[in-house]
């Protein structure tokens, strides 16, 4: 007994920089409170209380983030919680991105005017197709656990982009993934499709997590530590087995690329994007992308920068495959959500270009982070618009149903056109500036051929965005076409926010570019 006490006294409590991790603590703490509220509050009060709590949490987290970022803080960042979490400039930028995009997603999640009761099922546990299921179809309640699940996912994402060792990263990966698996299965309409999406995402995601963990194990075997900086140090001295290093790296990266929906690890993306409730699709497309690429950037820069000549060729190939798959398969899609899914695969390829453009004093990291922010806002607004075009079966996502939309709802059509042009990367939108900075960084890093392939892929991808514009503007409306629901305040704010940021970042990107470029990862 005494021995145990003596040993316990030897373990020092780690230093915690509460100011630095305050945003993280706020989000995760609020998520826990939110779960308690779910248990304690009567059903009819939950939605309002949960929504207020979530929004206040996000605003509070952003506030504490701004407070910390503008205060006196070490320029290169701090490692806190015994070095498990690194709060440096890129982490702060990614946190802010995640929180703001999360705010937009929550607004979409909270909307109940577009569809009575919102996009989420009243009781997810009821089997689809049963008598009870038909009975609940008319109810306007919703499963309000959506809010704590979203907060947990967001907290996981924030941890993920700031984790300084691979084990923390793995835990964060699970914390962000598990709520998402659940959220995918909660659609009010087309419940079988939604549940199929959830199962697919879960099974494939579990595989990817296993790959990730196996990679972590091999890297531990190689470096004797799971710390990113320790791996970098170990790779500096070359007397160890390269097999362990590169096998570990490969498995680790597969796990990361899966989350980021980079081809050829993208096969879940279209099905899940299509089946999940549209606000959740928006959340995944925007925030999961930020988290996954944040993680990729950190791992590649901190742990593997000095071995980049060994792995660059591999990721080069992956980026090409992703862009080609996204651009070409996107051409054949007839469902608007699947189309945006393939577009996101193509965008993942572009993002990967920025991620591997690592040269000293290069702008690869800041360019990729800018791209993530720009892409996230555009995507949230785009899915917001998708949720408005409906017929009696719910959302009318088949492209043929969008014909002649501009005649009936010119504003919605114009907004969607603008967002599609941004996704295509036309100048005067944030999408163009994003592509420009990423390609500039890549050219500086000597990746000219890759950039040319990316440009051709952009031109191919532009075709399917244009096809939607053609349908909306130049085709005659179908007689039994969908109607455009007048959106409630929440969806309107989310779409406006996304569209305005897309425009503003296209015209005056300097502020965000400067901010993204202020510092580098803590190593």
């Amino acid at each position: 007994m005494n021995l145990l006490v003596a040993q316990a006294q030897q373990i020092e409590a780690p230093e915690i920089d509460y100011g630095a991790i305050a945003p993280l603590l706020i989000v995760l703490g609020a998520a826990c409170i939110s779960v308690l509220l779910e248990a304690l509050l009567p059903k009819h009060q939950r939605w309002a209380v949960q929504l207020v709590l979530t929004l206040v949490t996000l605003v509070g987290a952003v506030g504490s983030l701004i407070l910390y970022a503008t205060s006196e803080r070490p320029e290169q960042g701090v490692a806190t919680l015994a070095g498990a979490i690194a709060v440096d400039s890129p982490a702060l930028f990614l946190w802010a991105t995640l929180l703001v995009l999360g705010f937009g997603s929550v607004l979409l999640i909270a909307d109940r005017s577009v569809e009575p009761g919102g996009a989420f099922v009243a009781q997810a546990a009821i089997r689809p197709g049963t008598v009870q299921d038909r009975a609940q179809a008319t109810k306007t309640g919703m499963q309000t656990e959506v809010f704590p699940l979203t907060l947990f996912a967001l907290g996981g994402m924030m941890t993920f982009v700031a984790s300084n060792d691979l084990l923390t990263m793995f835990i964060a990966l699970e914390v962000l993934s598990l709520p998402l698996y659940l959220l995918c299965g909660l659609a009010r309409r087309r419940r079988l499709l939604s549940q199929e999406a959830a199962v697919k995402y879960f099974l494939l995601g579990a595989f990817a997590s296993a790959f990730f963990l196996y990679g972590v194990a091999l890297l531990y075997g190689y470096a004797g530590s799971v710390k990113l900086s320790a791996i970098a140090t170990a790779a500096g001295g070359t007397d160890r087995s390269d097999t362990l290093l590169f096998a570990g790296f490969g498995l680790l990266v597969v796990g990361l690329l899966f989350k980021a929906a980079v081809g050829p690890f993208h096969s879940w993306t279209p099905d899940v994007y299509q089946g999940a409730p549209t606000p959740i699709t928006a959340f995944m497309a925007a925030c999961t992308k930020v988290a996954a690429f944040g993680g990729i950037l950190r791992v590649l820069t901190v742990a593997f920068e000095n071995t980049q000549w060994e792995w660059r060729g591999v990721l080069y190939g992956v980026a090409v495959v992703s862009m080609v798959i996204g651009a070409i398969l996107g051409l054949t899609q007839t469902d608007v959500k699947r189309m945006i899914a393939y577009s996101s695969v193509a965008h993942a390829g572009f993002l990967l270009i920025g991620s591997i453009a690592l040269v000293p004093d290069g702008t690869g990291v800041s360019a990729t982070m800018f791209y993530l922010l720009a892409y996230g806002f555009t995507t949230i607004a785009a899915f917001g618009v998708v949720s408005l075009v409906r017929n009696s079966d719910g959302e009318a996502t088949h492209l043929s149903q969008w014909a002649g939309l501009a005649k009936r709802s010119p504003i919605v059509a114009a907004t969607f056109t603008f967002l599609l042009l941004a996704l295509a990367g036309i100048p005067l939108t944030s999408g163009f500036i994003g592509k420009f900075v990423v390609f500039s960084a890549a050219i500086e890093a000597g990746l000219m051929p890759l950039v040319v392939i990316a440009l051709v892929a952009s031109a191919v991808a532009a075709f399917f965005y244009l096809r939607v514009i053609v349908l909306m503007y130049f085709s005659d409306p179908a007689p039994d076409g969908p109607t455009v629901t007048v959106p409630g305040a929440f969806t309107t704010i989310a779409i406006t926010l996304g569209a305005v940021v897309t425009l503003v970042l296209g015209l005056w990107p300097t502020f965000v570019l400067d901010w993204a470029g202020t510092g580098s990862f803590l190593s």
Binding site: I426, L455, V470
Partner: protein, 522 residues
């Protein structure tokens, strides 16, 4: 006088905004749009007077920082070539609006929307020619596509969707490849100067000294964009579709103005920035140019549709322009630039006249017409004049430029010049044959006497038909063009004076000297 250039950029945008709010009242929309386009024309005249032909390389420069992180500025300024192009835009837009006054738009479309897009197109196109920041040029080069995409796709003919998307994708791809080259040049500048910039004048000094391999790659990136835009064979296939499907006024803009961005880009960007590569790759470009002359001429001869005919005529003419640019003599260069102007005027006039023919017959097929001069003699005369200036008859404006291109190119590129001269003969063939089929002989054709008469039927010119001669409005539209065609045909000096110093400066930047002194005699 810098404000003139800024006003030229702003006035059409303001006009577009105002007109966009007049979608309910077509007549008012047309009047307001016309008023704004005339103000633009007055400003262009002022710009012309403010420009000093023997002054700085870039004049009336004005700009503000845009994205300091990349040294990108909203920087505008003009040289002689840009001035001439801006002037011709300002001239053609009021005529386009006037010519389309009574045109019926597709169901559900308003004049307000249409004219608003035309004015936006005018503003952006003026800006493309005035931009002196390479990044800004690229941005405008792509933005230019959007109003045109909606003009073709929203107001065009039966296959407008196909034509609009094809137009957009071709130009977009070319632009993206150019962007890669522009970033390459930027990276080079930031290596050399320590700080990146997109300023044209600075990039020229940096990039022109690059090694040949780099220059060649960067050249090809820019060249592809310009070759698609101009268009040179084999990158031309979007043009016949776009020209055929667009409403006639938009065809004037596409063929008469937008395409010039391609040849303008060759003069402003390719030659000064990549002199070595330009000289090395000139034979390759000249092959495309001469192929364009022959191919365009032959296909123009064989067209059954008048609007597609116009597209192929232009492809042939762009071959001539490219031939003059890549022969590297000041005479040919001046010829090319004046050709850019004169092509806009001549082909613009031809398109407008053919538009008047189509407006009467309701068909763009040549075989639907015949003997039209019997019922519309004035229109027939206008078609003949427009046709003759298109085939460069001496005494018309185009003759001066085509002649300058050919005699200027001969000393350095005799073989290509001789082959291209065949194009002049073919031009006489396709123009006169078109005229003959539409205007001469007995009155015939489904469009003129009705399909009910049956094949081979002949109409009676004395009998009353719905086909009338030119209205006062149409005469007012064509009269300025007739005056300019003849004036520039007999006295081209004012135009040549403006462009000669700029072409000379461009050739100095390339580092070539004329094989024979030609500037003394003019």
């Amino acid at each position: 006088m810098t404000w003139v250039l800024i006003a030229l950029l702003v006035v059409p945008l303001v006009g577009a905004l105002v007109v966009a709010f007049l979608r309910k009242d077509d007549r008012k929309a047309k009047l307001v749009a016309l008023a704004f386009s005339l103000v633009e024309l007055v400003l262009a005249v002022l710009l012309w007077t403010a420009y000093d032909p023997n002054g700085d390389r870039i004049q009336l420069a004005a700009g503000v920082d845009w994205i300091p992180a990349f040294g990108v500025r909203l920087q505008f300024g003009i040289d002689g070539i840009a001035l001439v192009m801006i002037a011709v835009i300002a001239l053609l837009i009021p005529l386009v609006i006037g010519a389309g006054w009574t045109e019926k738009l597709p169901a559900g479309r308003s004049q307000g929307g249409y004219l608003s897009l035309i004015l936006i197109q005018e503003a952006v196109t003026v800006a493309v020619f005035a931009a002196t920041d390479v990044f800004l040029f690229y941005v405008l080069f792509e933005v230019m596509l959007i109003p045109m995409y909606f003009l073709i796709g929203g107001y065009g003919g039966a296959r407008r969707q196909y034509a609009a998307v094809k137009f957009f994708l071709y130009s977009f791809l070319g632009g993206l490849i150019m962007l890669a080259s522009a970033i390459g040049a930027y990276a080079m500048a930031s290596d050399e100067l320590g700080k990146g910039t997109f300023d044209w004048a600075t990039l020229v000094t940096v990039v022109r000294d690059a090694d040949t391999t780099t220059q060649t790659w960067l050249f090809l990136g820019f060249f592809l964009a310009f070759a698609i835009k101009a268009p040179l064979v084999p990158f031309h296939t979007w043009l016949p579709d776009a020209a055929a499907e667009a409403p006639i006024g938009v065809t004037v803009i596409v063929v008469g103005i937008l395409d010039k961005v391609g040849t303008f880009g060759m003069l402003r960007y390719l030659l000064p920035m990549f002199p070595e590569a330009s000289k090395n790759l000139a034979p390759f470009v000249l092959v495309l140019a001469v192929a364009g002359v022959l191919y365009g001429s032959l296909l123009a001869t064989g067209q059954r549709d008048m609007k597609r005919f116009l597209a192929y005529v232009s492809i042939a003419h762009f071959g001539f322009i490219a031939l003059g640019i890549f022969s590297f003599t000041s005479q040919a260069g001046v010829g090319s630039v004046s050709y850019m102007l004169n092509h806009s005027i001549s082909t613009g006039m031809l398109i407008l006249v053919i538009g008047m023919v189509i407006a009467r017959g309701g068909s763009s097929l040549i075989s639907d017409y015949g003997g039209m001069s019997k019922v519309a003699p004035l229109l027939s005369g206008m078609l003949l004049l427009a046709g003759l200036t298109t085939l460069s008859l001496p005494g018309t404006n185009s003759f001066v430029s085509e002649f300058l291109v050919l005699i200027g190119s001969y000393p350095t590129q005799p073989v290509f010049t001789i082959i291209a001269t065949v194009g002049m003969v073919l031009a006489a063939l396709y123009v006169l044959w078109l005229y003959q089929r539409i205007m001469t002989g007995p009155l015939r054709g489904d469009a003129l006497i009705g399909a009910a008469a049956g094949p081979g039927a002949v109409g009676d010119p004395e009998k009353k038909t719905a086909i009338g001669d030119l209205s006062k409005r149409e005469i007012a539209v064509l009269a300025p063009l007739v005056v300019i065609v003849l004036a520039l045909g007999f006295y081209p000096q004012p135009v040549l004076d403006v462009i000669t110093p700029t072409v000379g400066a461009t050739l100095t930047e390339v580092g070539v000297t004329d094989p024979v002194t030609v500037q003394e005699g003019k």
